[in-house]
């Protein structure tokens, strides 16, 4: 039996934080899950403030220990106004309580989105939240920024192969941050949800906790090589082993 604070997935409701001008462009029944007006929070309206404070607390719980919590003004300016925050929430006597969140903002170009946050105290909600977010924003192409050691990497690995656009960002708070890209289509989403893994013979298994490996990957990307993550990461002692294909795609 689940505790009140740990309800099963089927008892959770999707929510979205977006202005009404953004919301009209979204699929408000992503993956068949209807987002009702009570589950839509417009940051321009005063009534949304209590829910947005809970979202801020969820972000802080995930990112403050890594030194990357979003200040309230930044959540408003850099997430809620230009893009969307979405996730799964539990209905309580005090209203919806967000248990997961994803931040996606549009990029220049059509149906290109950047995701820079996937947070939840429950690891099993992260993938469901990503799948929900991809359907909600009707994305064609996703860029994602994340730290190599973050729990987001295994979530994105469901969508492998992932193109590595940068393997490290020296000017970032955490230089061991990568930028990944993948295309989204309904078949691929179904495949990811089904948990199907592609087989990539010949992949190199590299430790992304090794700065020399990140240097090699970054040099390859900057030299014009296609660097792809082709499967799930695996912890081996202190190492985090990720399968890569470097060079022309197979």
């Amino acid at each position: 039996m689940h505790a009140v604070h740990d309800p099963p997935l089927e008892h959770l409701s999707p929510y979205v934080v977006a202005t009404s001008a953004v919301a009209v462009h979204l699929d408000l029944a992503p993956l068949g899950q209807l987002i009702t007006p009570e589950q839509h929070f417009d940051p321009l309206r005063r009534a949304s403030a209590p829910f947005l404070r809970r979202v801020e607390q969820l972000d802080a719980a995930e990112y403050a220990p890594r030194g990357m919590a979003m200040p309230r003004w930044a959540l408003y300016d850099c997430a809620e106004l230009p893009g969307v925050i979405t996730g799964l929430a539990h209905r309580t006597s005090e209203g919806l309580l967000p248990l997961s969140m994803l931040i996606a903002v549009p990029m220049l170009g059509e149906r290109r989105w950047l995701i820079y946050t996937i947070a939840s105290p429950r690891a099993q909600l992260r993938f469901a939240t990503l799948a929900l977010g991809l359907a909600l924003v009707r994305a064609r192409e996703i860029d994602a920024t994340l730290q190599w050691s973050s729990p987001e990497l295994p979530v994105y690995a469901h969508f492998a192969p992932l193109d590595v656009r940068a393997a490290r960002l020296p000017a970032h708070d955490v230089p061991a941050t990568c930028v990944l890209r993948f295309q989204v289509d309904p078949d691929r989403l179904d495949q990811a949800i089904a948990g199907a893994d592609a087989d990539w013979p010949g992949a190199e298994r590299l430790d992304v906790h090794d700065p020399a490996v990140l240097g090699r990957l970054q040099s390859g990307v900057e030299a014009g090589l296609r660097v792809q993550i082709v499967g799930h990461p695996a912890r081996e002692g202190e190492a985090l082993i990720v399968p890569f294909v470097i060079g022309s795609p197979p």
Partner: protein, 280 residues
């Protein structure tokens, strides 16, 4: 159309820069108002060689706090700026910097390295041509003897031209001096007048409709023109009850606009002119 800001020294002494990944550049106007962009002033945030320049942008942000805004976490220089969009601004070569500018920005003392003195950050929104501006930083006030007057508004105008923006959404506080810059774009639709979702509830969210005439006016080019409707009421920057009343009217569906620059009042306060809008 060329650009002739009232402070002509700005364009004579400074160089345009654009920090954007190659994939984003096809969507940009890299010769805004006919300005040229040096080869080494077009930078890629995904390449390690750009890291020193990004560090200088962080120093610029810390050195100015924007125009009354708050310092930006470093990760947002990527996530909410250079990756989805571009960071655009004006810079000087290190060898041409004054000692005070060099000290303020912890810049190298010589060489050809570009050192940014102003930047603007705006993120694309889902509606084509619409951008959310969230950081305008200029050293004009911190370096008052260097002839940089008008640099903030020039930077914002040129950046919006680079982005091919037709609509700009932004937010500021009712007591912010930045409101004087934003109001130069013409009447601003008020999207919120009291904003609990922001760290400072006495913040407003505005929307500007842009064309070349508005951008020229913003840049301080005397050929620029914007509409200036009559004010119907004024909001004083310490009158929170009036802001909340205005917010209630907006949430009831009324359309309101800021129709001019704020007027300065005693005690560092200001008042901002408001009118109802007949625009859709």
């Amino acid at each position: 159309m060329s650009l002739r800001p009232s402070n002509a020294r700005l364009l004579a002494d400074l160089e345009l820069f654009v920090l954007a990944p190659p994939d984003n550049r096809a969507f940009l106007d890299l010769a805004p108002f006919g300005l040229s962009l040096a080869e080494d002033a077009l930078l890629d945030p995904l390449r390690e060689a750009s890291s020193a320049f990004i560090e200088r942008l962080v120093s610029l942000d810390r050195g100015t706090f924007g125009l009354g805004e708050m310092p930006m976490p470093r990760f947002l220089f990527f996530d909410a700026a250079a990756l989805p969009s571009a960071i655009i601004g004006f810079a000087r070569r290190a060898r041409a910097l004054s000692a005070s500018a060099r000290a303020l920005l912890q810049a190298p003392s010589e060489g050809d390295a570009l050192v940014p003195l102003a930047m603007y950050i705006a993120m694309p929104m889902i509606e084509p041509g619409t951008f959310l501006g969230h950081n305008l930083a200029s050293l004009a006030e911190r370096l008052p003897d260097e002839g940089l007057a008008g640099l903030g508004r020039l930077t914002k105008a040129v950046s919006l031209k680079v982005l091919r923006a037709t609509t700009q959404i932004g937010m500021t506080q009712w007591d912010s001096r930045a409101l004087h810059v934003h109001a130069r774009m013409g009447p601003l639709d008020l999207l919120s007048a009291w904003t609990p979702a922001h760290a400072e509830p006495a913040s407003l969210t505005y929307r500007a409709h842009l064309d070349d005439a508005a951008l020229l006016h913003l840049a301080g080019d005397p050929r620029g023109q914007v509409e200036r409707p009559e004010a119907e009421l004024w909001i004083e920057s310490d009158d929170q009850a009036a802001m909340q009343a205005l917010q209630a009217r907006i949430e009831d569906g009324e359309r309101l606009r800021i129709v001019g620059a704020p007027e300065r009042l005693e005690g560092g306060r200001q008042r901002t002119p408001i009118a109802t809008s007949t625009m859709g």
